[in-house]
């Protein structure tokens, strides 16, 4: 029996695929660990390989990416780690999993507010937290995030979980602007206005508005492009066209944005290729792809936004620093628990 067991262990060891090992130094490869959905990032990576000849190996890990890189330690194969949400990005830096990169190309392409002064993280695209609303509603022009707690919306608001990073970042921004007491009161107000339990995804907000379950909610800007373009199928096109989209602002501020971004891993075996990949992702060509393929706002000034997004109106980005938002992420998450937002 024990011989059988030993044989089985041997089998398992053999089954570890060779491709799991990081590319050897000098080979034209780069290993990318990402929390971005593979479908969204694939076109960019294919274009990069075409342009540079560097092969990209990917693993898409949704939750636990930082833990995995940390556990792999010095032997980690990761060259570039890519995340959505500023909190997740800066967490990599805080856990000492990123290394500083000095690159004139990156510094020229990405505005200072969208990268770390020491080059430990770089934002590569931005997305706005916008309002999806019933098309019959009028006078939404001056809508603010603060308004969502107004009792006039009672039983009419749909949102995804307050614990989702997209909402947590917004609440963190609210904390930076208004402080804890006001933020808690606002969260309680919004919770009282919910038409259904917080949950699902941003697209469910659109679908629920089309289904008359609610009148207004928040969602990311690129979903509007994904739905209205018909790329998510004919059903989603109906949802996208069945809502009106407005860009809310903070009172006396701008529209809340979040980012997708990347770091060069601390123990990157292919550091040069990693930097090459980041520089490519900040190039005109790739930034245009971000705009066209994913309906994101490019970070590089001068790169055109997709017409589906320009149709939403001019974006006035709120100036709250991303680092401040990331720093308040935990406090925001605790508040969501405290007011029982998702219950």
């Amino acid at each position: 029996m024990s011989r059988t067991a030993l044989a089985l262990f041997g089998l398992v060891a053999l089954a570890a695929p060779a491709q799991a090992q990081g590319a050897p130094e000098g080979a034209r490869e780069v290993n990318l660990y990402t929390t971005r959905e593979p479908g969204l990032i694939r076109p960019l990576l294919d274009a990069f390989t075409k342009a540079s000849g560097v092969k990209v190996n990917t693993v898409f890990v949704d939750k636990g990416l930082a833990e995995r890189v940390a556990a792999e330690g010095a032997r980690s194969a990761a060259d570039v780690v890519m995340t959505v949400d500023i909190g997740n990005l800066i967490e990599l830096v805080d856990r000492d999993l990123a290394q500083p990169v000095r690159s004139a190309t990156l510094e020229a392409a990405i505005p200072a507010s969208l990268r770390d002064p020491e080059g430990r993280w770089f934002a590569l695209s931005t997305r706005a937290r916008v309002a999806y609303a019933d098309p019959d509603l009028r006078d939404l022009a001056g809508l603010t995030y603060e308004d969502l707690a107004d009792p006039k919306w009672k039983g009419k608001v749909c949102l995804r979980s307050g614990q989702h990073p997209y909402n947590t970042a917004l609440i963190a921004a609210y904390l930076v602007k208004h402080g804890e007491a006001k933020t808690e009161a606002w969260l309680r107000g919004v919770k009282d206005n919910l038409a259904r339990k917080a949950g699902g995804g941003d697209r469910d907000v659109a679908r629920d508005i089309v289904a008359d379950l609610c009148d207004i909610g928040l969602g990311n800007s690129y979903y509007v492009g994904l739905m209205r373009s018909g790329r998510g199928g004919p059903e989603q096109k109906k949802w996208g066209e069945g809502i009106q989209v407005v860009l809310p602002t903070f009172q006396g501020g701008g529209t809340h944005v979040n980012v997708s971004g990347a770091v060069v891993a601390k123990n990157a075996p292919n550091r040069d290729s990693a930097v090459t990949l980041l520089e490519y992702l900040a190039s005109d060509e790739a930034q245009a792809l971000y705009a066209k393929a994913d309906y994101e706002y490019p970070v590089k000034p001068g790169v055109a936004v997709d017409p589906l997004l320009t149709a939403l109106g001019p974006l006035k980005v709120d100036t709250t620093s991303l680092v401040e938002i990331a720093r308040n992420r935990k406090a925001a998450s605790l508040l969501v628990d405290k007011v029982g937002f998702d219950r």
Binding site: E67, R75, G87, L213, G232
Partner: protein, 538 residues
């Protein structure tokens, strides 16, 4: 000696991630516990308790009722239903939730059709209850998970001696009375085993609950960990959950206490099925069709339609094929390892005796009670330590640094599956071995066979259906497994489940439908085999 080595190693493999989680929980500042105790644990425990109570009631009623109808009665369509009732096993809970949310949404096909029939123009003219609620989640999970109860209960009804039922019938007991007073008490251990498996599955589910807005303990663990980068707090919550699960398992064992059914060494006579006709036959057929339709036909049918649209529109991507092969490879390897180890661990107490061997068997079931993602996180430190050790050894002995053998390789994935599902293989082997009359094993030993010889020549031939049944369940479970797979898989490796998750995360369900359908299809074959092995020869 050999047994001690293998079983000890197995227990070590299982306990390593749990110990790592314990260490992790201790490292926390402890500052968050007041918050967790005040705002997170109480509501999460209430919500989880209600969910489990509801799911428990649904799976026991549906699973036991269906099992009794197909075991005790003969009616048109029975043979087909016999295996069709198992089909929901092939539908992962998260896929069930996606499919049903699309189907039952006010703008989905079902409600649109109802409005069309009634002549309503707008969704607001007819407000029906929302699936995204605790009752919705209970029904969904209940109708997808009832086969865990149906399978062992059906096998038991088929195995039990006909004499008891016939005695009941001849003493004038009606059908209801025979079921309630004879069959049900006999089936209690099987029902308890099945229900505890179903509840552990429900507890581990993250996809469906998150999707339907139900804030279970598992969802809270994820929130604590992902949004606050507070792994210590999450590990602490995971240990609370582990304790709750062990409590569940203890209750299940208590329900089985003193009910060894090592019968006499002869084959019991199968009871004759009572033939139903007319309205009674129709009622039996209708009753059994409901769970098949709700648990399998509706979600799988919806997926098939969506996948058909997709294939028509974009064709089959070549990636799906390699993803399918990856899925089969890892699930197959893990099944082989988990089955062998499960058999060894289960055979120890039976063949060699000793309380501590029973304790080892209990330890082997820990992994099933930890949410997949948290288990994967617990696996990271031991795997990293192992890599470090091997690397150090290699450098010391040969001077050559060694690439990772564990972390980031397929081995890590297989390890995770084995730890997670060993409970199922060990449990089914144990249940199978318990039914081998002791006299047979003793006879083999008297005739000079050692424990291993007795196992190979007496026990295995008699218990292979139970062992294989466990193996098939684990195979299906591995194919469906998502959270641990996401965290541990190697570079460039996708499985069907991770592919589907990627699509779902983007909301392009049509692409995901093909993968979802394949997951269901891959699960079908083992399910069909399951029925064969769980049908005792008359």
């Amino acid at each position: 000696m050999a047994w001690t080595l293998v079983a000890g190693l197995t227990a070590l493999l299982v306990l390593a991630p749990v110990a790592a989680l314990g260490l992790e929980a201790l490292q926390g500042s402890g500052g968050l516990w007041p918050h967790l105790l005040a705002h997170v644990l109480p509501p999460a425990l209430v919500e989880t308790g209600l969910l489990l109570a509801g799911v428990g009631i649904v799976v026991v009623m549906v699973g036991t009722g269906a099992a009794w109808l197909v075991a005790a009665y003969e009616f048109p369509g029975r043979r087909l239903l016999d295996w069709a009732l198992l089909l929901p096993l092939a539908v992962p809970t998260y896929i069930g939730a996606y499919a049903y949310l699309d189907l039952l949404h006010p703008v989905g096909p079902v409600q649109s059709a109802i409005r069309g029939l009634l002549g309503y123009a707008r969704p607001r003219d007819l407000i029906l209850p929302d699936l995204r609620s605790l009752p919705g989640c209970i029904l969904l999970l209940g109708f997808v998970l009832y086969p865990y109860v149906y399978l062992p209960t059906r096998a038991l009804f088929l195995m039990q001696s006909a004499t008891l039922v016939e005695a009941g019938r001849s003493l004038g007991a009606g059908p209801a009375s025979v079921f309630l007073r004879v069959a049900l008490p006999l089936a209690r251990p099987a029902i308890a085993l099945g229900a505890s498996l179903a509840l552990l599955e429900a507890l581990n589910d993250i996809g469906a609950a998150e999707f339907l807005g139900v804030r279970t303990l598992t969802v809270s663990i994820y929130d604590t960990w992902v949004n606050r980068s507070d792994l210590a707090g999450a590990a602490g919550l995971a240990l609370v959950m582990l304790a709750a699960c062990l409590g569940l398992i203890a209750v299940e064992r208590w329900a089985r206490r003193g009910r060894g059914y090592a019968g006499a060494a002869q084959r019991p006579r199968r009871m004759a099925r009572k033939r139903l006709a007319g309205p009674a036959a129709l009622a039996a057929l209708g009753l059994n069709l409901v769970p098949v339709a709700l648990g399998f036909l509706a979600p799988a049918g919806y997926l098939a339609v969506e996948a058909g649209k997709r294939l028509h529109f974009a064709g089959l991507s070549g990636a799906i094929l390699s993803e399918g092969l990856n899925t089969l490879l890892y699930a197959g390897l893990a099944t082989a390892v988990a089955t062998s180890l499960g058999l060894v661990v289960a055979a120890g107490p039976r063949l060699l005796g000793g309380r501590w061997r029973g304790l080892l068997l209990r330890c082997a079931t820990f992994g099933y009670a930890v949410p997949g993602a948290i288990l994967a996180i617990g696996l990271l430190p031991p795997l990293a330590a192992l890599d470090g050790l091997l690397d150090g050894l290699s450098r010391a002995l040969t001077g050559i640094p060694l690439a990772a053998m564990g972390l980031g390789t397929g081995a890590a994935l297989v390890y995770a599956y084995v730890v997670r599902f060993l409970a199922v293989t060990a449990g089914s082997s144990e249940a199978g071995l318990a039914r081998v009359p002791r006299s047979l094993g003793d006879a083999a030993r008297v005739l000079g066979r050692g424990p291993a010889g007795a196992l190979a020549q007496v026990h295995l031939p008699l218990t292979w259906p139970a062992v294989l049944g466990g193996a098939l369940l684990v195979f299906v479970d591995c194919v469906k497994e998502l959270p641990a797979t996401l965290i541990l898989r190697p570079l460039n490796v996708e499985t069907l489940a991770t592919h589907l998750y990627g699509e779902a995360a983007r909301g392009t369900y049509e692409d995901g439908a093909v993968a979802a359908l394949l997951i269901v299809a891959v699960g079908l074959l083992p399910v069909a085999l399951l029925l064969r092995v769980s049908t005792p020869k008359a």
